[in-house]
C-alpha cells in the first residue's frame, strides 16, 4: 500500500527542497529567517523615535466646518479637505457623517450614494462650463489603440466576464440623458 497523504499522519511525507539547495538557488534565501528579527516586529513597540518633536501636534485651523466621524472625540489636528462639501451630495455626506457611526452600514451606503450624486452633479455642471466632461478622453479608452490594447484584448484580459456590460454602464446614462432631453424637447414643442 502507498503511504497515506500527509494530513493523515503526524509527519509530512513530501519534503520540499532542502534549505541548502534553496540557499544556492534563491538570492538572499533565509536572511530574515528569525521571525524576531524582522522589521515591524513586534507589531506594537513602545518608544519608537518617529521624528515627532511634540507631545500633541499643533492644530490645523478649521477654516470651514469640517465633517468628521462621530467616533472621534474631536477634529483631528491635521486633515485634508481636497474637496469641501457642497451641493446635494454634500448634504448627504454631512448627514452620513453627522448621524451614523462607522459601524453602521447606512453610513457607508449613504456616502457611496452621495458619490453617485456627486458624479452626476459634476457632469451636469461641466456642460455649463468651458470644459465639459469628455467620455472619450476621460475614460482613457484611447489606450485600447495606442497601448497594444487590441492585441492584449485578443489574448486574455481581466474583465471578460463583464466587459460586455461596461459600455452599457459607462455610455448608458449619457444615452438615457440624451433620450430624456429629446423627450423634453418634444413635449415642449407639442405644448406650443
Amino acid at each position: 500500500m502507498t503511504e497515506p497523504a500527509t494530513p493523515y499522519m503526524a509527519g509530512r511525507s513530501a519534503t520540499p527542497d532542502a534549505s541548502v539547495a534553496l540557499r544556492a538557488r534563491i538570492p538572499g534565501w533565509g536572511v530574515d529567517l528569525d521571525p524576531k528579527d524582522r522589521p515591524s516586529f513586534p507589531r506594537e513597540q513602545p518608544g519608537i523615535a518617529t521624528g515627532a518633536h511634540w507631545k500633541f501636534p499643533d492644530r490645523q485651523p478649521e477654516d470651514q466646518p469640517r465633517e468628521r466621524s462621530i467616533e472621534h472625540a474631536m477634529l483631528t489636528p491635521a486633515f485634508g479637505t481636497s474637496v469641501p462639501l457642497k451641493g446635494a451630495s454634500g448634504a448627504i455626506r454631512r448627514y452620513a457623517y453627522g448621524r451614523y457611526s462607522e459601524g453602521r452600514a447606512a453610513h457607508w451606503l449613504l456616502l457611496i450614494a452621495a458619490d453617485r450624486v456627486d458624479a452626476w452633479e459634476n457632469h451636469l455642471a461641466s456642460f455649463a462650463s468651458l470644459r465639459p466632461d469628455n467620455p472619450v478622453t476621460e475614460t482613457g479608452i484611447g489606450s485600447e489603440f495606442s497601448g497594444h490594447g487590441l492585441a492584449s484584448r485578443a489574448g486574455q484580459r481581466v474583465d471578460v466576464n463583464h466587459s460586455w456590460m461596461d459600455p452599457v454602464i459607462v455610455a448608458g446614462p449619457w444615452v438615457l440623458a440624451g433620450l430624456a432631453g429629446a423627450a423634453v424637447l418634444r413635449a415642449v414643442r407639442r405644448g406650443h
Partner: protein
C-alpha cells in the same frame, strides 16, 4: 500646477489646480518627480471607495523634491530629495508611538477605523495625492525620508508602498523555515510578498493569478511555482493536491476586494456596491490554507462588509493577520536588501506614463492591457 482629477467612476482628466499650501506648521510641499498608479487606486477609479469626491487627486506612491516647508519643520529643507510613505501619520498619537503608523489617530477626522492615506478619498482623510506636480505632505518631520544617494528614484517610488507592503504581507504570515507559502495575486505586492517569503525561509512559494504574463513575472522575478486559476475548475482543490492534501502553511491575499470573481460577485460588489468588494481571493485563502495555518491580508478592502467565509476560518483554527503596512518601519531592512542585491524593486516597472496621459494609464492598468505590471507617472516638470 497640473494634476490628475477624478471625474466619477472610470473617468479622470488632467486639470490646472492651485499649488497646495502649507496648512499646518509641520507641512511640507513636495514637487513630485515620479509617482505611480497602484492596484488599490483602481478601487477609487471604479468608484468603490466611499466618499471619493469628484475633483480629488489620487496617488499615494510618489517621490520628489522638497519645495517649501512649514514653520515647525526641522528635518527637511527645500531641495531635499525625498520618498514619502503612503501613510499620513503624526508620529505621536497612541498608535504611532507604538509603531502602528498606518493606524494614526491624528490625521483622519473622517474615520477612526482607517488612518490617513494620500489621495485615497475623504474616508482616508481627504488628502490630495501625488499624481500631480505638487503635493502637500503633513508631518514632514515624521513621514518622508531622504532618498539615499545610491538609490534609484524608481526603486525609491516602489519603497513608498508596493515593496514594504509585500514584505509586510509575508511577515504577517509568520513564516518559519520550510513553510509552504501561497500568494494570491501576481501584481507588484504579490510578487514582492513571494520574494520576501524566500528571504524569511519559505520552503516552497506558489503564486496564483489568472494572467499568464504576470505569472511569468512570478517565475522569473520571484522564483515561484505558479498556477493560473482560470485553468482549473477549482483552484482550492488543486492547491490541496499540490500540498499533499494538507493545504498551505501560509496564504497571502495580495488581491483585495477588487478581485474579479464570478458574475454575481462582480455585480453585487463592483456594480451595485452591495459588498465592500468581492472577497474571492480571501475566501480562496481561507479554503486553501491548512488547518491551524495563517492567512495574511494585504490586499485593499473598503470599509463596507464583504461576504467572507468566517465560519471556515473559525472551524479551521486559522490565524488571520492584516493591516496597512507601516511603511517607514520597513525601510532600513529593505534598503539593506536592495543594496545586497536580494531585491530590485524597479524590475517590476513596465510603463512610464507622462502625467498628461494618465487617463490612458488608468485604463491600461484597469483592463490589464499591454502586459502592464507597474505603471509609473512621470511629472511634466521632472
Amino acid at each position: 500646477m497640473r494634476a490628475m482629477v477624478y471625474r466619477g467612476p472610470y473617468k479622470i482628466r488632467v486639470e490646472e489646480k492651485d499649488i497646495p499650501k502649507i496648512e499646518h506648521p509641520n507641512d511640507a510641499i513636495i514637487r513630485v518627480t515620479t509617482g505611480a498608479i497602484c492596484g488599490s487606486d483602481l478601487h477609487l477609479y471604479h468608484g468603490m471607495m466611499p466618499d471619493t469626491r469628484v475633483g480629488s487627486t489620487f496617488g499615494h506612491e510618489f517621490v520628489g523634491v522638497v519645495h517649501q516647508v512649514g514653520s515647525s519643520v526641522q528635518n527637511l529643507i527645500p531641495g531635499d530629495r525625498v520618498m514619502v510613505p503612503f501613510n499620513v501619520y503624526c508620529g505621536s498619537c497612541w498608535f504611532c508611538s507604538r509603531g502602528l503608523y498606518s493606524n494614526c489617530h491624528n490625521v483622519n477626522p473622517n474615520a477612526t477605523a482607517v488612518g490617513g492615506i494620500y489621495g485615497y478619498s475623504h474616508t482616508c482623510g481627504g488628502y490630495d495625492g501625488g499624481q500631480a506636480e505638487f503635493v502637500r505632505v503633513p508631518f514632514a518631520d515624521v513621514g518622508p525620508g531622504r532618498i539615499p544617494d545610491w538609490m534609484d528614484e524608481e526603486d525609491a517610488v516602489l519603497l513608498t508602498d508596493a515593496l514594504p507592503t509585500g514584505y509586510f504581507g509575508a511577515q504577517l504570515g509568520d513564516i518559519v523555515e520550510g513553510d509552504t507559502v501561497v500568494v494570491f495575486g501576481a501584481g507588484p505586492v504579490g510578487l514582492f510578498a513571494a520574494k520576501s517569503a524566500w528571504l524569511m525561509g519559505a520552503g516552497r512559494v506558489i503564486v496564483i493569478d489568472h494572467l499568464d504574463y504576470r505569472l511569468e513575472k512570478a517565475r522569473d522575478f520571484a522564483h515561484a511555482e505558479t498556477f493560473n486559476f482560470a485553468e482549473y475548475d477549482d483552484i482550492v482543490v488543486h492547491l490541496k493536491k499540490e500540498t499533499d492534501f494538507l493545504g498551505a502553511d501560509v496564504v497571502i491575499d495580495a488581491v483585495g476586494a477588487e478581485a474579479d470573481g464570478n458574475f454575481l460577485q462582480h455585480v453585487t460588489a463592483s456594480k451595485l456596491k452591495l459588498q465592500g468588494g468581492s472577497p474571492v481571493a480571501l475566501n480562496w485563502a481561507i479554503d486553501s490554507v491548512r488547518k491551524g495555518g495563517t492567512v495574511s491580508v494585504v490586499g485593499a478592502y473598503g470599509p463596507m462588509f464583504s461576504a467572507v467565509k468566517f465560519g471556515d476560518a473559525v472551524n479551521k483554527g486559522l490565524t488571520l493577520r492584516m493591516n496597512q503596512c507601516p511603511v517607514k518601519r520597513q525601510w532600513p531592512r529593505l534598503f539593506e536588501h536592495i543594496r545586497n542585491g536580494y531585491l530590485k524593486p524597479s524590475d517590476l516597472v513596465t510603463h512610464r506614463i507622462p502625467l498628461e496621459h494618465i487617463a490612458e494609464g488608468y485604463h491600461l492598468f484597469s483592463a490589464k492591457l499591454d502586459n502592464i505590471v507597474k505603471p509609473l507617472i512621470i511629472s511634466a516638470t521632472a
